[in-house]
Each structure stands twice: as C-alpha cells, then as structure tokens.
Symmetry: C2
Subunit: 490 residues, 2 copies
C-alpha cells in the first residue's frame, strides 16, 4: 500500500469554499439535488458550481472547470459519471484542492472493472497528497459551517454527536431520526466504498475533535479491524463510541458483500473486540440514537443501583423487570427514605422501589420525590416515568377538545396554560437535579422535549418512549462507566 498524506479533516468539515463538479439545473439529477441541499442548508462558505455546458446553475454563476474558479477551493464534491472522475480529480490537484467527496457510484460495488477504476482514482489522488471520501458516498454533514453536502434532503439538528456510516441509507435515516430521538449532530460521513479514506481515519479524527462528544458507527466490514480497535482504545477512555454492526449473520453478511464490497466479519469476534475496546454495542438502530441522546445529555452513573419513580403500578413493574434483566439493581427503600416520602406523599403510596406516587400527585410532590431518590446515597440513577403529565392534564386537554360546551372555554384555556407552564418547570427542575447531584435521571415521556424550533442549538435532556428503553439506556451508560473504572479512568 502506498503511503498516504495525513488527511486534513479541517478541509472536509470546515471548508471555506466548495466546488461542486457536475452541478446541474435538472432537479432529477444528483448534481442539482446536492447543490440545492447545500444552498438550502445555509452553508456558511462559498459554493462554486462546475459545469462546462451551463452559464448559471440554479442562480449561481457556473465555471466550466475548477481551474477557472478565481478563488482558492478547500473542498471538491464530484457528482459526474465514473469514467470522468479521474480527469476531474486531476483538475482538482492542479487547482491545489486536497480534499474531495466522490458522490459518483459504479465503482468497486459493481465488480472487478469498477474496483480497478476505484483503485486508479484513489492512487491518482493520493500520489499528489489529495484525499477522497467515497466513492459511492451519500455525502457528509458538518454543523460548524452548516454544511449539508448530502444526497438526501436531510437537515440534521445540530449537536455534539458525530456519525460515520458504511451505509448511506442507514446514515440518512439516523440523521432524520435525530429530531425524533432528541439527538443533535456535529459531523456525519457516509463513508461509501472507502476507496481512500477509511472508517479508521474518520474515527481517529473524531476522537480528537473537541466538538464531538459522542461517536456513532454503523459498520458492515473493516479493512483493518486491528487498526480500528486500536484507535478505539485510545478514544474510549474519554469519549464514548456506540457501534452497530450490520452483517452479523450468514444472511446479513451475504447481503453486506453484495452491496458494498465489504467482507462482513463474525458476530462473536466483533462483540469480543468491541467489549475489549470499550465500544458500546447497540443491538438495534433505534438503540444507537436513544443511547446517543443519553450519552450526550446525562452524567454517567457511578454504579448499577436504580430508583424508579412512577405514577402507575404496572409501569413500575415493567421498569423494574427491565432493569433487573440487564443487571441493574433496584434496591428496596431504606427507612429514612420512606419517612421522607411519607412527609409529602398521600398515605397510600407504595413504600417500595419502584416508588408509586399514585396518579393524582402534583408537581411539587413529584419533584420532591425525585430529589429524595436522586440524593439518596444508595442510588446511582433514577428512571422517572410520566413526570411530564399526570392523568389530570390528559383529562383536561381532552375534555377541552370535546366538551367546550359543558365547561367554559376560558377556564379551560387557563388550565391548559398552567399545564404547559408546569411542564417547562418540571423539565428545568429535572435538569437542575441532574446538575446538582451529578447523577443521571432517565425521563420517560413524550412531552418533555423542548426546543422543537430549529433555532435551538441542542437538546439538553434525553427522553425515552418507554421505560424498557430507558432501562436499556441506563444499562449502556452503566456499562461504559464500569469500563472506564476498570481501566482506571474516572
């Protein structure tokens, strides 16, 4: 293997200027779609469309070749047929461009001839110190310069989670799910065929990237597993890596080969290597994002003891089961905790862990209960169920919709406003408790998310749709905390 220039990822993630080679006015073509995505995503640098047959591209002056662009160019994006890409790369080299994203497909994923083309392309680039993302990539995202250089029209929410995906479709879906799972993204790379830059390179960069707090990986196969795991070991002591492996079974591995050329490894091997390197193994795509939300907004638990706060008995049972099943303890309450709770809970509360506060409890008692549990020295984390809305809130909002004739609308509006206010307050108080005691609170409920507007920089509190999912996230954080303790970090 030829020696490679050290990739300058600053050119990829913070480019001051971009040339889009193959930019088009035809919105059925990727050269138009990627162009529009970048423009509409609000990219903060200069964008130069390159197309020899057009005067303008979607309102921007077009250049016949990159060499004709009057200013320096940090990054090229190549979206032209495969057999033309080599010449384009040579043009880029002449222009002094040292980083390119090759959107174009029909390379090694199609067979031998494509693989030859891909090798030639990569070698041409590398020989002159230029580095390539792809080919056959669906693009990248970088929050720092609002760059959505993507084929699909996703506008990821900004945050501190970075993602590398060996499948563009999976990556796209993850970015799209960010909103749903309260995950904000910093960097994203669809690594494509990895003809030049590989997963290991991105990983090493993200490990050092101060703007990245959590790293996510969708892996189908690794050219150099040892390098990947060695790189991981240097990162996991101070930054969590959550990975999902595609191609864990015979059928999955067969599918992975056919679509990306990556030779899928064996499940057990990967699991062992992940564990040794301190990488957290997600078993579903949804878990990846739920855990990313948890890791980016919550402190790590120092142990495996969980208190559960609920307004309904059955959910307490399910949560306790879910905790026990993955090795989290749900310790019985101590007498002092029971006495404290007695002072503000109705006489018929459960007096056990899970603490069933009963449906009708108000906000102040709820927060007091939460603080009693999170401050308890026998507990490392709290799972809090339906803190966002008691049944009363549901009832009132429903009655409001359906029975305005029966009860005055004005009175109802006042109550609805109070509910909304109290939700915001609960949200803030929960965040305060997490900060004060430096222990995680896993909040279950659909209504706590604040900052739905795109103006908000990031979510500050993870939320979970079901208590089972909250318990699994707590398990993932505990697993990582235990790993760090075992290797002497903390």
């Amino acid at each position: 293997m030829k020696s490679r220039a050290d990739p300058d990822f600053n050119l990829l993630f913070n480019p001051r200027s971009i040339a889009l080679i193959g930019a088009s006015n035809n919105i059925g073509k990727w050269g138009a779609i990627v162009f529009l995505n970048i423009v509409l995503g609000g990219y903060q640098g200069k964008l130069y469309p390159v197309n020899p047959r057009e005067e303008t591209i979607l309102g921007h002056k077009a250049y016949a070749r990159v060499s004709q662009i009057p200013d320096p160019v940090d990054l090229a994006i190549i979206a032209i047929p495969a057999h033309l890409t080599r010449e384009a790369v040579q043009d880029c080299i002449q222009k002094g461009i040292r980083m390119a994203i090759v959107i174009t497909s029909d390379f090694s994923e199609t067979g031998e001839e494509g693989a030859r083309l891909e090798r030639e392309l990569s070698e041409t680039a590398r020989a002159s110190g230029m580095r390539l993302v792809g080919p056959n990539t669906m693009g990248i995202f970088s929050a720092s310069v609002s760059l959505t250089a993507l084929m699909p029209p996703v506008r990821p929410r900004k945050g501190k989670v970075s993602l590398v995906s060996q499948s563009g479709n999976i990556g796209t879906q993850m970015l799209g799910w960010g909103e749903k799972f309260a995950v904000g993204f910093r960097r994203y790379v669809s690594s494509g065929n990895e003809g030049d830059l590989r997963s290991e390179d991105y990983l090493t960069f993200l490990g050092k990237d101060p703007e990245t707090q959590v790293i996510l990986f969708y892996i189908e196969g690794l050219d150099d597993g040892r390098e990947f795991f060695e790189a991981s070991k240097k990162i996991t002591p101070y930054k969590p890596i959550i990975a999902f492996k595609g191609g864990k079974t015979l059928a999955g591995a067969r599918a992975a080969r056919s679509h990306s050329g990556a030779m899928a490894g064996v499940k057990e091997l990967y699991e062992a290597a992940f564990r040794q390197a301190g990488i957290i193994w997600a078993s579903t795509t949804e878990e990846m994002l739920e855990w990313a939300a948890a890791f980016s907004s919550l402190p790590l638990p120092r142990g495996n003891r969980v208190a559960i706060l609920t307004r309904g008995g059955g959910w307490g049972v399910i949560t306790a089961d879910a905790c026990n099943e993955i090795g989290l303890e749900v310790p019985p309450l101590e007498e002092k905790i029971i006495q404290t709770m007695d002072s503000f809970l109705p006489s018929y509360w459960s007096r056990g862990n899970p603490v069933d506060m009963v449906a009708t409890i108000g906000m102040e008692a709820y927060i007091k209960g939460l603080e009693t549990l999170i401050s308890w020295d026998k507990v490392d984390a709290v799972i809090s169920l339906s803190g966002d809305a008691g049944p009363l809130a549901m009832i009132i909002s429903d009655v409001k919709k359906r029975a305005e004739s029966i009860i005055s609308a004005e009175k109802m509006d006042r109550i609805a406003h109070q509910i909304s206010e109290s939700r915001t307050q609960i949200y803030q108080r929960v965040c305060e408790l997490i900060g004060k005691y430096q222990k995680p609170i896993f909040a279950v409920g659909a209504n706590l998310v604040r900052g739905k507007g795109s103006g908000q920089p990031d979510f500050t509190l993870a939320q979970f749709r079901t208590p089972e999912r909250a318990a699994k996230a707590a398990g993932a954080l505990y697993q990582y905390s235990r790993y760090r303790k075992a290797i002497g970090v903390e």
Copy 2:
C-alpha cells in the same frame, strides 16, 4: 370457594343501559370523568347518573338510588368510597342488576382490612348471581356499543383486537397506542384486583367472542395458572393469544406485589407454560401491539423462508440479520427469479436476497418485484422496505417546502399529488398481493397507514417502524403457525 353464577358478558360488553353510581358534577372527581368519557365516547345505550344530592349530573337527570331508575339496568358502574360499595351492590341486586364495574379502590391492594372488604363485596354480589369487574379497575371498553367506561379519556380505535390488563395504566397506554401502531380494539378490561371476575373468565369469554380476532393479555400474576393455561389451550388452535408478563424478575415481582396483591410467578415457569399453551410471549409492551397489528391484518406464513425487498443496501443487511437471528431463513434467489427481475430492474440490482432494487426505482417495478417474490414457491413471507416512498418523493416534498421560489409551485403541487396517489395505489396493490397469494407482506415505513380519520372502521395492513421490528413480527407469526401445525390444526 363459593360456586359462581356463570358471568353473562353480554351485560358487560353490550349493555342496553348503564347506571353510574357516584356520578358527579365536579370534574375533579372520577364520577364526573367516567361519566363524561361515556357520554363523549358516544355510548349507544341509556346512561343513568345516580347521586342522592344532585338534581342533574352534567345535563342528565340524576337518580338518588338505582331503585328509582324507571327502566331496567344491564350494568352498574360504581365510583363511590369503598365503605359505601356494599350497600350500593345490595341496591343493584334489588334492582335486578347482574353485572357491575367497581372503579373504587382502597380494597385488597391496601392491605388486610381492604382485602376483607373486597371479599365481603364479592360474596355479597355472587350470592345473588351478580358478578363484578374489579374492584380497583380503571374500566372497560366495548366497540360494539361504543362504550368507553374508562377513567382515562382514551377513545380507542375500533377493531378486532381485545385486551385484558392486570394493570390499568398499562392497559390505558396500550389503548392509546392503538392509533400509533395501527391496532383497532374490540373489548378491553382493566381487571383490577380481580376480587370476583378473574383473568381466566375474561379469557374464556374472548375465546368464544366471534367479534374478537386476537387476544392480548398483560399479566402480573394468576390465582389459578392451571385454569388459565387450560383455557388458553382451547383457544390458541384457532385464535392467537399474545401475552406480556410483568414481574419476571425479583425487582419486578416485588413491585407487582406491592401494587396489585398478585403474587408474581417465575419467568421460566411462565415461558414454558406459555409455549405449551401456544401463547405468544411478547418481550416488550411495544411488541404486543406491533404483533397484534400483524396478527389482525396478515395471513400466517406457512414456513420460515423470507424474501426481503429494499431500496437501500444497508437496510437489507440489517433486515437479513434480524431474520436470521430469530430463526427465519433468507434463501438465495433461484435463477428463474433472477431472470424475472432482470426483465424490469436496472442492470445494477443486487441479484441476491435481500433484493436491493436501488433507490430510483418506480412504483410499477416495485410492485412487480414484490409480486415476483411473494409468488415464489420458495418463500413464505416478504418484508418490504420503504415501499411507501422513494428518495425522489422525499426530495420533492422537501424542495417544495424550501425552494418554491426556484421551481414553480404549481408544478410541485402536481408532483406532490402524484406521490400521494401513488402511495394509495401501492397500499392497495400490496393488500391485493397478500389476498391473492395468501402470504404475509410485512411493510416497513411510516406513510402507508390509511384511514387516519375516525370514520375508518379498522386498519387493513400492519406497518412497522423499523425492519428489525418487522422481522420480529414475522417471527411471532411464524412461531404461531408452527404451533398450529404441530398440534395438527391448519
């Protein structure tokens, strides 16, 4: 144990008239909330509020006692303090009422004194041939008479799935999730403390109920496990039962005891008993509903061989993994299938199973691909990914929102309309293929659901949020199909 009158569930699920004992004008009280729920839910029979201190209740003439109601009463709902319930039950008996729902709590769930009260209440009722739901129940639902006799303000979508829950909170959530998971309900019972009627009784009724197609159970503990499993064995040959067990672990069992008085059993015991009785064991609350949707809208697969149709390689890999991990086969394509596909797919399709049709494929080719697979004699089921929307649809709808100034709005509207039309068509064609070949198609995607309006009687096609969930549902249907084959039904 005293002998019991055979419960007449027709009085519970199809009452022509209801007396609500404890009806109230104070919307902070359950006696008002349950009353409003019944009225607003559109109950098709007569409703009589009973309250000795009011002339009218929320616009309805009130009666001081049930005996004063001039007409016959099929069902009583009791929502008064515990110490008054026995007298109310005696009133009901005198009025000739033979079925009552006891919403009131403070019975066996609170300790010895409550347990005594509960026994007295049940014995009083039974001695005169009256049967009780509860006490400490959150109510019932019955689609046939639009009866939402519930504490929480849920309006379940109507369908053919019936649910019995030993936790009212879990049951409420399940009913609420029906919309989200495309599940329509027929009957629902929150069984409360089961002071009189028990899970076994409801189960036996639902087994015989011709309007119930799928039975769901949330179980924390069973008084008579043998009876429950014997009853199940008589039902599962012709009707699926999906159950979720709360209290599977030490922590969960402890929690279950404290809130319902039910002694939780051991996980392994239950699992073995479920398996022997042909009951499908759901491991999360979400699975219960996803599987209910699948069982109520799809034919059973005759074997475990699955074909996967996708527009994106990575998702194909994950789906194949998910299938293999639970024992479903993903057989390689036969030459004849490859040749058929070659005739309408672009040259670079995957030529393997999963069939990666590539992102840009149109609807007709998609449906042809689907029919090629579902008609293949080597396959028992198909998992179909993102049949609802190609990237083009996403791009266009996004560009429409963000770039109307660039492309004419009129043209965009036309395209958007075409997309919506084509989605409905795909939905119909998928349903037709299922009917034609009598094999299940598990559709993954968020946009296929039709009939969002409450006018629609039921969903006709299950849908899954992720391919992993689709694979698990396919596994559940296959497990049940195999059980039926093993016991000689089919």
